[in-house]
Symmetry: C2
Subunit: 389 residues, 2 copies
Amino acid sequence: MKPEWDLLHTPGPTPIPPSVERAMNQPMIGHRGQKCKDLIQSVTPRLKPVFKTEGDVLILTGSGTSALESAVVNTTNPGDDVIVVVAGSFGDRFAKICETYELNVHRIDIEWGKAVAVDQVEQVLREQPQTKAVFLTHSETSTGVMHPIEKIAERVNQVSDALVLVDGVSSVGGAVLDMDRFGIDLLVTGSQKAMMLPPGLAFVAMSERAWERIQETSRPRFYLDLRAYQKRVGDGQTPFTPALSLLFGLDEVLNLIEEEGGIDRVAERHQLMQQMTRKACRALQLPLLVSDEDASTTVTSIRPETFEAEQLRKLAREEFGLVLAGGQNHMKGEIFRIGHMGYSRPANVLQYISILEILLKRLGHDFEPGAGSAAAQEAYLEGTREDQA
Amino acid sequence: MKPEWDLLHTPGPTPIPPSVERAMNQPMIGHRGQKCKDLIQSVTPRLKPVFKTEGDVLILTGSGTSALESAVVNTTNPGDDVIVVVAGSFGDRFAKICETYELNVHRIDIEWGKAVAVDQVEQVLREQPQTKAVFLTHSETSTGVMHPIEKIAERVNQVSDALVLVDGVSSVGGAVLDMDRFGIDLLVTGSQKAMMLPPGLAFVAMSERAWERIQETSRPRFYLDLRAYQKRVGDGQTPFTPALSLLFGLDEVLNLIEEEGGIDRVAERHQLMQQMTRKACRALQLPLLVSDEDASTTVTSIRPETFEAEQLRKLAREEFGLVLAGGQNHMKGEIFRIGHMGYSRPANVLQYISILEILLKRLGHDFEPGAGSAAAQEAYLEGTREDQA
């Protein structure tokens, strides 16, 4: 297995920065010793600005799904009414977890590729005033939609007492979500997307209100019991042995975010990459699945009409080692997805757009040669004009 | 944080072999691509001889405790009667998980430092014939006791239909446990002990009988639902994004085990390290917590009488970077524990014994200088005599 030459542009796992690779490559340490405490006490407060919260950010060892499940099992009891917005695979996963844990799930099913409207959420909430929690996906990785979470959170808080619980797996670190300001109660993510780490860590940020609910929740849970994590976070400990090599890496990831100027600057870079990608696709006559308004800053889906999505992915992989993602579920073969998040810069976008042009040529797609690259360049120049002023 | 000079001899996390560090340090790959499939299909069958089973070994992303919880939630329904042997912190953790998940727990509490007798288990089983499962710890990391799991499993199977579920966290990879032959139904471990990896992966091996029970179990579970892992293992997939860098390392760990001659040879090395350590302690007048018969092959506990255990640990850490573990719960300050597992060889034992002699001298402990080293050397020569014949 020699993936050294791969250009990994799936929406997670994402490439690891060299300095993070080096940081992870440290000799093992005891997880109850001073070095581990120092490490956890170094990273914990520095995660807060990434989540835009004053509250604690807890570190779990697990896939992103473990964090989604922690959101469900810590805040709900069997039979509770909950609303879940489902506009793709990951909304569906949240709903499945809720169903597994015997909740009375009110699904808001949205066509894949579209975002939910704030009014739709309000309407269901008014129909179901007993709702205890609203489960939302910020960036729906399977389609590249970014739901207007802040507006939804604001509205939910205006019209109900339901908790607002958000899957931020492909958004935290690649978009700004003003958790505290807009009253998001629980925001979770994994390590392998915009957080620039290999998979294996998950993060849970919570509000005071979520914490109260968590303490009242009687449902059995052990490994994912957030009370156990909360209890030890102040001492720089985790209840169970953490994935230490990823924690070594996390420390350096936070350095990189800070060196770039903080999460707002990082989010701007993601927005710039999104603009470059979308404008290039338009110039190349590649139909975008998602509207400008609903588009994610970290992943862009294209629904080709003149060639097979899977054929393009195969060519990209074989000829350039460019790894793109396909569609999921009923979108399999219908779309391909480009991840532009984490350790990814405008220069990477210029590269994959130029590669795409060659491949489109091979596939007989009709477009003006160089138009995609030119559009990406223009978007770059436009997007960075203010910086230079 | 510069732990480069540390000599890590806690019973987990344990040092990582350099070739495993190099293997982990690979560029990220997509978890749904061919490379990941090839990797999982390479490691999965090679885990079977390590667990001594013909059955599937499932790979979870989580701490060892996630695997303990998976054993509980997949095989039991609320209200089931179960027996848990508790002879230290980790037996107690198994019992706590069972209690959390509303089982009717029959604890067999054993004095810390002693192993359970087969007859005790049989007696409780006869008193509680409705018992659905017996939860056991192979190597009790908190004390250095190794329970006679094979004999217990054999007896449980003779007198009941209860499943035999075993925590092998500090034993798998450092001891032989003939899972299939003795009718162990579920055997779990973590990556950070004898498996020579950083923490973050957990492994679950299961019998056909366990698999039947798992399919019948109605209890809600999602992230730790072994059915989801089983369903995809044949395709070289995991249901959720796995800790890929640890999977890269696992491939090399299996190479190392195979190069050494397989798990039986690896277990012999652990037994040799145990013998060297114990004989040296005896020669140094250091009281061993555990009898020869009950001693673990991977961790040795010492209960000093002439000095403070914590004082020795402090000196060891400060002067030599030798990291030893202390006691847990009521044994805090009473004992210190030496881990000799995973990436650890007889040469490491010779080193820590010689260091211990210097420290004992400083602490005013009465012993014949060099006696520990001589005993360890003799144990080594004795233990390797057959190899040379």
